[in-house]
Amino acid sequence: MAVEMRLPAVHKHISLAASQSNREDKHLVVPGDVITSDTGFMRGHGTYMDEDRLTASVAGEVERVNKLICVRPLKTRYNGEVGDVVVGRITEVQQKRWKVETNSRLDSVLLLSSVNLPGGELRRRSAQDELAMRDYLQEGDLISAEVQSIFSDGAVSLHTRSLKYGKLGQGVLVLVSPSLVKRQKTHFHNLPCGASMILGNNGYLWLYPTPGQQDEEAGGYYTSMEPVSLSDREVISRLRNCLLALSAHKVLLYDTSVLYCYEASLAHQIKDILKPEIMEEIILETRQRLVELEG
């Protein structure tokens, strides 16, 4: 077994000049920072009144909407919004519903009436369906779903009423902070490098080999157990390391940034991407290309 040894060394943090420009207009605070001493404002989430002064209780960016001031934290649990795509894991099977863990403060709920029955039939759910719930989704299964509504206590209600949602088969799950996933029109991407990914808004990213035939009559419950080829596995491993590198440097995650990072990493071996120096190199290149794209 070859052992690799590296000595601790001091390396400078590289920061692009471009990213400095928009730092001035962002009002960043840490817990305890006074936002304003003006008492005319209403306080929103992430703030508290400390002797007539509005103080931040979380680390993040200050948002002001007319008279309402709130602080949006950078590192937080997932707060659901209607229409988000999430990837979650079934934790409990209850009467007529499943409890799904989605990295939020409360477990999300997937009602039996919100799933597509296999075969795609549309009918009322019977008692037999209730008893057979465990055959569809068990504890430990990963699913992709969309947020249908939010309960008053903040718990999120999910639905899988489309053929693109459902149980996830073979692939790799990467966990990042929910604030790093950019809100886009679509969260399902088929990357040209040969893999597909689902960027869940809750920070759960799913990488899987692009399915061969695009038509799936099974309705999202058929998970293929065919062995995945080595080339596909390598692509997915490289993508996973790229995602970890991007999240370590707090780069916003969307299909373009992931693709640029993948292309920048092709020069290195897959296992080298996780080394701090090489990670910085790759991220620098990615950031430069993204800045060129914007400007």
């Binding site: 477990d107 430990g140 799950l173």
Partner: protein, 388 residues
């Protein structure tokens, strides 16, 4: 807060590894993690680290009236608390099943085994007895809380000293530690719990499961034993069916482990006693590694080197031999831990010899000494003008 659920592939990986007799941290089936016992400045305070699991135990005493049914015996009170800092799954003031199980097992192990002589705790029969209170706090949960808690409890009890009392008729005088030296408790034997986790319907067992292994276990067998090979308590949970020879085998393993751990506890107690007698520094601050930038303290990581030689030979054979064969002299041992291979090349820093050459080639003013200084002195006197 609920613990993040274990993914299916993690579960399968752990079970597959156990089938192949491999553990996540590279231990063998019957190996314990590193046990570290440290005592505080007060008598009766002890922290036990079993790998990453940390448990703190504090023993204290108080004079109370005895129980009506036992007027001549002291009272032992055990309390185990799962602190929220141990795991996000532990919430304060929540009575969970794990908490009840641990408390019950600790009580059974220490109280029912009669390891402490409660009669010696009696001061005035029927009126005043010592109540010994053992508080165990779990500081970090990385598996096998029961063993760590029992080691911490018995170490703290052995370390504890109660105040000396003098009885004159019905008057009781309690002496402070300054007036009279406190007295240790009379402990007959040291019962220690050893946990065995069973997997795959009892076909595989592991000693000292870590937190991940505990999550995929089918059942748990806890045997409390002392070094004289007396079983103090056995508890089997999880509903798995164990065969007689499995239980006998576990008890044999437990006796070996218990004697090792008892030796460790005695050594730690002896060290502490010696340091206190010599007047050296003792307590938790001394047992923690110093946090200095220049010191790097990490646990030794075992590296598998069984096939190092073959791999090295492979690599050497595969590399192409260069046309110019440069003979490398074999290493010369210069001193302890220092070896030298080959010799360095000629010094290329350009020192004395070359500098002496230069002034001779230049025939311009080299006798004048160029003075470049900001000194405001009128005249700068340079000593040792020969040195150029």
């Amino acid at each position: 807060m609920r613990d993040t659920p274990l993914s299916n592939c993690e579960r399968r990986f752990l079970l597959k590894a156990i089938e192949e007799k491999k553990r996540l941290d590279g231990r063998q089936t019957y190996d314990y993690r590193n046990i570290k016992i440290s005592f505080g400045t007060d008598y009766g305070c002890c922290i036990v680290e079993l790998g990453k699991t940390r448990v703190l135990c504090q023993v204290s005493c108080e004079l109370v009236p005895p129980k009506d049914s036992r007027p001549t015996e002291g009272i032992m009170f055990f309390n185990l608390e799962l602190s929220p800092m141990a795991s996000p799954a532990f919430e304060p003031n929540r009575q969970s099943e794990l908490l009840v199980t641990l408390n019950r097992q600790l009580e059974r192990c220490l109280r029912n085994s009669k390891c402490i002589d409660t009669e010696s705790l009696c001061v005035v029969s029927g009126e005043k007895v010592w109540q010994i209170r053992v508080d165990v706090h779990v500081l970090n949960h990385d598996g096998n809380l029961m063993d760590a808690a029992s080691i911490a409890a018995i170490s703290a009890l052995s370390h504890f000293r109660r105040p000396d009392v003098a009885i004159q008729g019905r008057d009781v005088t309690v002496f402070s530690p300054e007036e009279r030296d406190p007295i240790p408790l009379s402990i007959y034997h040291m019962p220690i719990c050893v946990s065995f986790a069973f997997f795959l319907q009892g076909s595989y067992l592991l000693v000292d499961p870590c937190e991940r292994e505990e999550r995929v276990k089918d059942g748990l067998l806890v045997i409390a034993m002392n070094k004289h090979r007396e079983i103090c308590s056995i508890q089997s949970s999880g509903g798995i069916m164990l065969l007689k020879d499995q239980v006998l085998r576990c008890s044999k393993i437990a006796s070996v482990k218990v004697s090792e751990i008892t030796e460790l506890i005695n050594k730690a107690l002896e060290n502490d006693r010696k340091i206190r007698k010599e007047g050296g520094k003792f307590g938790f601050a001394e047992s923690m590694p110093k946090e200095r930038i220049t010191t790097l303290k990490r646990d030794e990581a075992p590296v598998e080197m069984t096939d190092v030689e073959e791999t090295a030979k492979d690599i050497v054979n595969r590399t192409e031999t260069t046309t110019e064969v440069v003979s490398v002299p074999s290493p010369v041992l210069v001193g302890m831990g220092t070896a030298q291979v080959g010799e360095g090349i000629v010094n290329s820093w350009g020192l004395d010899e070359e500098e002496e050459d230069e002034p001779q080639t230049e025939d311009t003013k080299t006798d004048e000494v160029m003075v470049i200084s900001d000194s405001e002195e009128e005249e700068v006197v340079i000593l040792n003008e020969e040195v150029q």
